[in-house]
Amino acid sequence: MRMAELVMGLVMGVFSLYLMWKSAELPIGWIAGEGPGGGAWPFWLAAGMLVCCIAIVVRWAKRITPESRSEEVYMDKRTMRMFLLNAGSLAVMIGLFHIVGAYGAIPLFLIFYLRFMGGHSWRLTGTFAVLTPIVTFMFFEIALQKTLPKGFTEPLFLPIFDMIY
């Protein structure tokens, strides 16, 4: 925990510096007769972020916050595994949106999650994997006319569009 507190403080400090540098593309000072320049608001707020990060690191060094005193591990093995599995499968699903589209990625994600993470029966998994994309399709594409990404599965949907519109 102690290590994580320091690393997060430092990483966010560096990120604040990046935001300050990026804000400085526009004038960050006071323009006479006009008020602050276009970059001033984000620049000085990012500077505020930096000051907070410095305070967090100082408090870490002085061991003021509970996190900086804690010798507990930030993420035990089990937590790490759960985190990687959840965030990872989510990232893979979003990635698959680009390739096989929403209606390919959603069932795959459900099969993975329900069957392999949840240990549910194939029957329940199958029901969800089939029904969820159909409900999603009817709600978004038919009722709301919002097109979700389809990737290379797009040609499969063209005859359906001909039918419904």
Partner: protein, 328 residues
């Protein structure tokens, strides 16, 4: 709401058919028609003039069943239209991607060359209208003509507030023109959107604006604001008492285009389809009524004539931006 039950039924049938016949070749002899919902990108945010027009067009198309597939508007207002231009330029399916443009179609690529957007590569579909501009003041000011306006603005110097829609926008170009033409020193304060600008004038938080008629119409009819002069070649039928700037000795005409643009690389068949479709929309009584009520001008332009119009307009805009010092 069409019959939902039928839809579900047809959907399940279609799912079966779709899987079976996905690879079936399309009959190429038939006239081109959209195969899926058409993405209709708006270069501006929700609720503005362009957005309202797009949603109106969408309803005309749907109401009169002009297209077999729906048009679905997507707002991409980011970076003065830069986001929309990049999105349409890189459209994965140019045959189903259209964009509704403002003058930022010219000015944004000029001001941000790093976007590498060349409007000549876009497909000209149809110019639906040109919006007009007038000079407005609040009725409480007692100003009735341009002479009084110039006198008052001169006396106020940089305390005279001109509200507009953004730095280097159409409103800014017109403000710069007025400042130069009459030797004024008005202060330009940018707000988000023309509706907000109109409200600032009606609430006496600005001294003058250069709104489109549609933005000020409500306040004008309620007797809160007054048009002084129009940036048009002839007087507008809705505001007969406001002279044109040409009449009072300053020849300055400025329009806001409202044009439908196709993505670069759109197939000939698709372009012809959309050109025909938007001509139908333009000639519909709904659109003609809308133009009259909003005091919109201009004939329908398409194809090469529209492309030519773009190129002329781009040079006009380039000249103005140069004069303002917004570009080199």
């Amino acid at each position: 709401m069409r019959n939902f039950g039928t839809k579900i039924l047809s959907l399940s049938v279609a799912l079966g058919l779709g899987l079976g016949f996905a690879a079936a070749p399309v009959d190429s002899a038939q006239a081109w028609e959209p195969k899926k919902p058409v993405e209709f990108v708006v270069m501006a945010g929700k609720g503005g003039g362009a957005d309202k027009a797009v949603r109106f067009i969408q309803s005309i198309i749907a109401k009169n069943k002009m297209s077999s597939k729906p048009f679905s508007p997507v707002n991409k207002p980011g970076g003065s239209g830069a986001e929309a231009l990049i999105h349409v330029k890189n459209a994965s399916d140019p045959d189903h991607t259209l964009m509704f443009t403002l003058n930022s179609f010219y000015t944004t690529p000029l001001r941000q060359p790093s976007l590498k957007v060349n409007i000549e590569t876009f497909t000209p579909v149809g110019r639906m209208a040109e919006d007009t501009f007038l000079l407005w003041v609040n009725k409480d000011s007692g100003i009735k003509n341009v002479d009084q306006f110039v006198k008052a603005a001169k006396a106020a110097g940089n305390k005279w507030i001109m509200a507009g829609t953004g730095k280097n926008s159409e409103d800014n170009i017109l403000t710069d023109f007025l400042n130069k033409a009459y030797g004024l020193n008005m202060k330009y304060v940018p707000y988000k959107g023309g509706g907000r600008v109109a409200k600032e004038l009606a609430g006496n938080n600005a001294n003058s604006t250069v709104n489109n008629p549609s933005e000020q119409l409500g306040f004008y009819q309620a007797g809160k604001t007054v048009p002084l002069a129009a940036f048009t070649p002839t007087r507008l039928p809705l505001f007969k008492d406001a002279p044109t700037f040409k009449e009072i000795g300053k020849d300055f005409v400025y329009f806001m285009q409202r044009t439908v643009v196709g993505a670069p690389g759109m197939s000939k068949g698709a372009a012809a389809y959309y050109q025909g479709l938007f001509k139908k929309v333009f000639n519909s009584k709904e659109w003609q009524g809308y133009m009259k009520k909003k005091s919109l001008q201009g004939e329908f332009l398409t194809g090469d004539a529209l492309m030519k119009y773009w190129l002329v307009q781009r040079e006009v805009q380039r000249g103005m931006l140069k004069k303002m010092g917004a570009i080199k």
